[in-house]
Structure formats: C-alpha cells, structure tokens
C-alpha cells in the first residue's frame, strides 16, 4: 500500500512541503511572524522557550527544534535567532543541514535590529519558498508512515468509540510495517500495568512504570489532588470521574500490538518500526510538538468534547466519539465515531474510514484543522524552572 509524498534527500517522506520558520528563542517570534506574513507556503513554529532556563531544559529546546527542522514536512528551513539566546543555534543549524535540505539563518542583533532582520529574513524565506515549490509528490510505501496519536477533550465516549477506532488504525499501520507513537504519560496512571504487559521486553515494561512514576511524582510535588488538572473540568463535565477512568479509556487508542519501547521527548524516529510510546504530557501544545519532533507526518486525534487544535507542519485528523459533539462542531471534526455509540457503525467500519482519510491526508488532502487554519498549537515540554 502506498501514499503520495515528498521524498527528502535523507530518505524520509513528507506529507506536506513547507518552508518552516523556526525562531531559536521566543524573543524572535515577532520577526518570524512578519517574515511568514510576507512569504507564501511558510509555517512558523512560535514556541515560548530558549532563554533563562537550566542547561538540561536548554538542551531539550535545542533538540526539539532540531527535530522540528528535520521534519520531512519541512522542505526548507529558516532559523531566526535573536543573537543572545540559550538555545545552541550553531548546533541547530548544523543538525538540520545534515538532512540535505536548504537551511538559512538570520540573526536579529547582528543585522541591526527588527526591520533589517525582517527584510533579510523575508528575502531568504521567499528564495527558499521558490526553491522547493516545484517538488512533486511520488508514491511512497506505507511503511514510511510515522503515525502519532492523541486524545484531547475526552469524555465518556472517547474510551468506547473514537479511541477504539484509532486503535484499529494503529494496528493496521503496525501490521503494514509502519511506525505508531502514542504518549500522554499522565494518562497511563491507573492503566500502566496493562501497558507494561504489552511491552516487548522486561526493560521496556520497567521503563513504562518509570515514566509514570516520574510524572506522578512531579504532579504530587504540588501537594494537592491532581483532579481538575487531570481529569480536566471538561473531562469531568463529560462524565470522567478520576484519572484512572480517563487512563483506562485513553489506552484504547494504542490498539493491541506489542509495545516496542519508550522514546524520550526529544527523540527523532530513525528506523524504528511498530508501536512505541513517547514520554509526553497530555496538554495539546506540548504533545503535538513532541510528536512532530519524532518526524510524524500525520496525527490521529480523538475527542469527545471537541478539541480543535492542529500543529503548524503536521496535519491532525479529528476523530469525534461523541455523536452530539460531532453534529455541533462539524466544521472542526473530520470523522464521526459517534456512530459507534449510536450503534450505527462498528469500530472496524469507523476505523477503516479513519484509515482511508489518513492515506488521503498523507497524499495532500487537507484536514479540518488545516482548512480552518487552526494550527498554531506548539510549545516545548520543559521540566525545570524559568529563571
């Protein structure tokens, strides 16, 4: 089975062909936004990190931005540096360049300030945009797909309908030789014993317990009940009473195949196949970013309450488990898994519809989030204090 993608020089296949504009630090966002506004086919990655953080977090920021720059949906990259950030800009540019894609760097302070940087950056971005605009899609085997999964705005339908339909797609992609990644470590609490039993090796099983313990310890360090943080007020209004209940429904989206291992947040998928976990929080901005860092060309996103988020360079397909929400938010939702709740369609039937939509999206068809231009949910998951 194939989709039509953009083959990159490093052998990776993209589902989109953008110029990615990457601010090295949040202080460069305004310049990057001005450049993007003046240049066709660009996507800005406007995060809020890169300065006044401890070295381990600065490394996470540099490595996350490297992953985003290396993403196969970015045909070319413009890095916008302020000049005094903590992010390792030299390493960022060098690592992205190793993919063989064109990379340009502008430095705001060196160029003489904002307006001069906007002018230089706009010229650079426009040249990059023209240089990649003629690239054609070509057939790519489905085993090159890195599918990421998330559930957001969950309610009681998520664990019974939309997550199950995504689990069906996850099993299909694994069986076709592709890569599937799920995360949201917080939403393993109370279900980690089920996931650990599915691990390929005892070491992978231990790692699942370890990341859950780390996440729970961080949450408990605030000295309060996690409820309202997780499950969220929206989850609770939708009928989910505890994190354990949310987790037991959330893991359905991982399907049924063996879990090969656990990726760290900044890991980029090289040649790993099968089903993997990435250690991420559940909040949209940080998990969408972490999954894009992996190199995922498409995300399947399950919702019950109706979460509209998308990511700048990674299309996100919304699978809605709640039939009332699907009708109410029809312009934000791609697939109606509410038919499972109403008994009108099986999990397999909805899963197949989601799978077919994903193949089309990988080949260029737009998602609702892209069409409505809701795609700026980005930030990097850091662990330490802001200094």
């Amino acid at each position: 089975m194939e989709f039509k993608g953009y083959m990159r020089k490093n052998g990776k296949a993209g589902s989109r062909n953008y110029v990615a504009i990457i601010p090295a630090v949040s202080c460069a966002n305004d310049v990057a936004m001005a450049i993007q506004a003046q240049t066709d086919n660009t996507r800005g990655l406007y995060h809020h990190q890169g300065c006044c953080q401890l070295p381990p977090d600065l490394d996470r920021v540099t490595e996350s931005l490297i992953g985003l720059g290396c993403h196969p949906n970015a045909g070319a990259v413009l890095v916008v540096s302020l000049g005094c950030e903590g992010t390792d800009v030299e390493r960022l540019v060098n690592e992205i360049s190793k993919t063989g894609k064109p990379v340009e760097l502008i430095e705001i302070q060196k160029l003489g300030g904002t307006s001069k940087a906007i002018e230089a950056g706009t010229n650079a971005a426009q040249n990059l945009a023209v240089s990649i605009s003629g690239l054609q899609r070509e057939p790519v085997d489905i085993s090159n797909v890195i599918m990421s999964i998330k559930c957001g705005g969950s309610d009681a339908t998520s664990g019974l309908a939309s997550n199950c339909a995504i689990g069906y797609v996850a099993d299909r992609i694994v069986d076709l030789g592709g890569t599937v990644i799920f995360g949201e470590t917080t939403e393993f609490l109370g279900a980690e014993h089920i996931l650990a039993k599915r691990a390929r090796t005892p070491e992978a099983g231990r790692k699942i317990y370890e990341i859950v313990n780390q996440m729970e310890t961080r949450a408990k360090s605030m000295g309060c009940d996690m409820r309202k943080g997780e499950p969220t007020p929206g989850n609770i209004a939708g009928g989910l009473s505890t994190i354990e209940e949310k987790s037991l429904g959330a893991i359905a989206k991982s399907g049924s195949r063996t879990i090969e291992g656990v990726f760290d947040y900044t890991d980029i998928v090289t040649d790993q196949k099968g089903l993997w976990i990435k250690d991420t929080p559940g909040r949209e901005m940080e998990i969408l970013t972490g999954m894009a860092v992996s190199g995922s060309q498409c995300m399947l996103f399950s919702t019950g309450r109706g979460s509209p988020q998308g990511f700048p360079i990674m299309p996100v397909i919304k699978i809605c488990g709640n039939p009332l929400t699907y009708e109410h938010l029809i312009n934000d939702m791609d697939i109606n898994a509410g038919k499972i709740i109403k008994g009108e369609k099986s999990i397999e039937e909805v899963g197949e519809a989601a799978f077919n939509k994903m193949i089309k999206v990988l080949s260029g068809e737009t998602t609702k989030n892209e069409t409505i231009k809701y795609y700026s949910s980005i930030d990097i998951y850091t662990l330490g204090p802001v200094l």
Binding site: G159, L189, G190, S241, E245, L324
Partner: protein
C-alpha cells in the same frame, strides 16, 4: 420516545455508562452488558449523558470498577441506580494532598 440506554462494559463492572439525554430519576435504564444482554435498572438520580450509574450497591471504601479495572474508591455507600461521579468517587492516583 428514545430508549434510555446504558452500557456495562465488562462483566465485573459495578457501573454502567449512560448514553441518553432523558436519564432522569425514576426512569428505567436499559443496561446492555458485554454479551448484549439487557437488564433494567431504575435510576435513583438524574444522570447526564456520558455519566455513570451504579449497577450494584457499592460500600464506602470499596473499588469502583469500569473496564474490569479499579477506576476509584467510593467515598460514601452507593446504591444501584445512583449517579457515580466526583461527589462519591475518589481517585487514588496523583494525590499530593494525601501522605503516603
């Protein structure tokens, strides 16, 4: 009138999920189990769409079971037909407010 339907996911569950907008106190809920068998439960509370009803009595301090797994602990005695939610079900995880 549309049926008032509930779903008991696993045979060991002591709650069912209600998928109806008319699940009011006194209404007879058609609870379907994992085998498709239907039993009748008279509701003792109004239950919003997607929320849970106890299908058996649950003693204070006992586990609340959904998907065949423990999803929390009852903080009061709960009768079959009652709404089960944050007012009578507590999480055991992420509890920074409780000393280990």
């Amino acid at each position: 009138m549309e049926d008032t339907v509930g779903l008991k996911i696993n045979k060991n569950d002591n709650v069912a999920v209600v998928f109806a907008e008319n699940a009011k106190k006194g209404v007879r809920l058609n609870v379907t189990d994992h085998k498709g068998n239907v039993s009748i439960l008279v509701l003792l509370s109004d239950i919003p769409y997607g929320h849970k009803a106890a299908v058996a009595s649950i003693k204070k301090g006992s586990p609340i079971i959904k998907y065949g797994e423990t999803m929390g602990i009852a903080t009061t005695d709960i009768e079959a037909g009652e709404h089960v939610h944050v007012h009578n079900a507590d999480s055991q995880r992420g509890r920074g407010d409780i000393q280990d």
